[in-house]
Symmetry: C2
Subunit: 384 residues, 2 copies
Amino acid sequence: MKKDYIFTPGPTPVPLEVGLAQVHMVHHRSADFGRMLSEALDGLKYVFQTENDVLVFTSSGTGAMEGAVSNCFSPGDKVAVFNGGKFGERFVEISRYFGLEVLNRSYEWNVAADPRELEKTIKENPDLKGVMLTHSETSTGVVNDVEAFGRIVAETDALFIVDAISSLGALEFRTDGWSVDVAISGSQKGLMTPPGLAFAAVSEKAWAAVEESTLPRFYFDFKAARKTQDKKTPETPFTPAITLVQALNKAIEMMRDEGLEAIQARHELFAKATQAAVEALGLELFAADRSKAFVTTSVVAPQGIDSGDIVRTLRNEFGVFIAGGQGKLKGKIFRLGHVGYFDQFDITTEIAALELGLAKLGFKVEIGAGVTAALKVLSEGSAG
Amino acid sequence: MKKDYIFTPGPTPVPLEVGLAQVHMVHHRSADFGRMLSEALDGLKYVFQTENDVLVFTSSGTGAMEGAVSNCFSPGDKVAVFNGGKFGERFVEISRYFGLEVLNRSYEWNVAADPRELEKTIKENPDLKGVMLTHSETSTGVVNDVEAFGRIVAETDALFIVDAISSLGALEFRTDGWSVDVAISGSQKGLMTPPGLAFAAVSEKAWAAVEESTLPRFYFDFKAARKTQDKKTPETPFTPAITLVQALNKAIEMMRDEGLEAIQARHELFAKATQAAVEALGLELFAADRSKAFVTTSVVAPQGIDSGDIVRTLRNEFGVFIAGGQGKLKGKIFRLGHVGYFDQFDITTEIAALELGLAKLGFKVEIGAGVTAALKVLSEGSAG
């Protein structure tokens, strides 16, 4: 008997109730779907903590990232991308692709972006039109200080665009409170829904920029999306992934029941339990700055072991899916997910599988030490 | 007791087996998903009747239409769009949006596009780079002669781009046999799957054009999609709608069991039964050319009745969802869908609801005449 456990930092486990919400389907030009989409938009405002318009697209999160660039800027506009991992790189790539002048503020992959670097960039570039930041950099586990960045960008004419794809619904995230002009997310991480929906919360400051922007966009056109969603019976411009909207509503209902603060406390506790377990096993945590790294725990592979072998062993031997390193970290780190639909026994299972896997690969591991360390943290917290 | 019946020409009814295939989810960077995507790509080649690459995008069909334009052309390229309804108009809109020079070959909405008009256009425009045609124009029910168009375009350097969104898997469609360079479709019509996946089958001639094209595309980049799909373990460039791929595979398995020819014969029979019923009720069929109009039957609303009232009456009184007119046909026609997961009793139910609805609206209707006419056609055919 070998069950499958999705412990990757995305897609994340989907509650059965959410999965089942996909089965029945309604027509998307109907009062029924209008009510569903209204409910989804209300729910998204809750998880984004915003009064801004939240737009819904049928795509991966990358589609909404492209939309943020193509709707807010014009060729030659200067933007600063704070880039500390694969998803920071994606913002660089999309921005360059669309002909923006990109200040690539790359920083070490194991630390957070430095707000002083932003201050310096702004001082040196009074013509800056945008600042892009990844909240939770899924490829490294590092979480950036969106609040500090937002405070600085808000005093300029630049837009603050944040990739909150893997953080939303897991970490504290205040779109309005932190002056985020375009906050981007997707269905398949903290929102516990299968992949296929992307979201963009757009501020008034961003809408003003949309009016000036000359880059081409059709499928990801923000104004078209706002126009159809603003109707009395909200719609999307093109046929949406109806069954995923149904699933999202079920997931947000569950999130409202648990409450955002409780969800965030749970993610923090599970991250700390995972970190304690990793250290108890004599392994090195990759992220130097772990003050908010509660979405995924990145771990340096032990000397002489390729992290890909750890990932493969856990998958093939035990049905446990964790993630390897991406880009320049391929083979060097592995990533333990704990975002979204996780309870405390998922954490102990994840650590147990890691212990068995490491032992199988010949790494000297004190069996039980990781699980014990995790349990100690869990028993001290309130993992309810 | 009032059940819901989705009899619109998209989204279409989803078999319970297909709906249920969404419930369980696998990780999209895994051998399991690689096998699923391989199966989907094989299945799509079967329904597209092609050896070309078939690309899979998480989006509505419109996303793949945008991709066809942005991947194959450059600003100023001259294309002829044969436009006889709302979806023909969309091709005009997208092409103009991306700065192409558009020859808008609009024709009456109740007839098919005339291949002689294409010949004339080609003669007058030797620099033509592309021809766009809608196979089944969902907004009118009219079906175009893709084969005749393809034969003509194939003798030129122009690309032949066909919107097969509502026809694929319902009507005969031969991507290779009819020289279609980019064939576009979506999951939610003949393929009996919920909306959220779009497809593009791309010929070698089109791939050569992609190399020359300078229009911007990122999320809908054809080459990026081909590169990841061509791997030993196929992937998509960005996180796909995993649960919809699972559903698609179940649907195509059902389609293989029935067989494409049998499916097409079923659609033809049901269309003819529906047409007979409409005429027996003394109503006028909208499409003058019905030789291949087997996806949806468009009907002129009786004198003095707004077609929207018919649609609303059927929805509100009986839970039966049919479609109204779009664009300039709003209020004037209604559309009876019979594409995808329909059996013969869906047809009689649809007609029965129409009879009851018309009677309720005060239209003099001989109750039972429509259903009887439909049953006669069905009993002569092999609707099994």
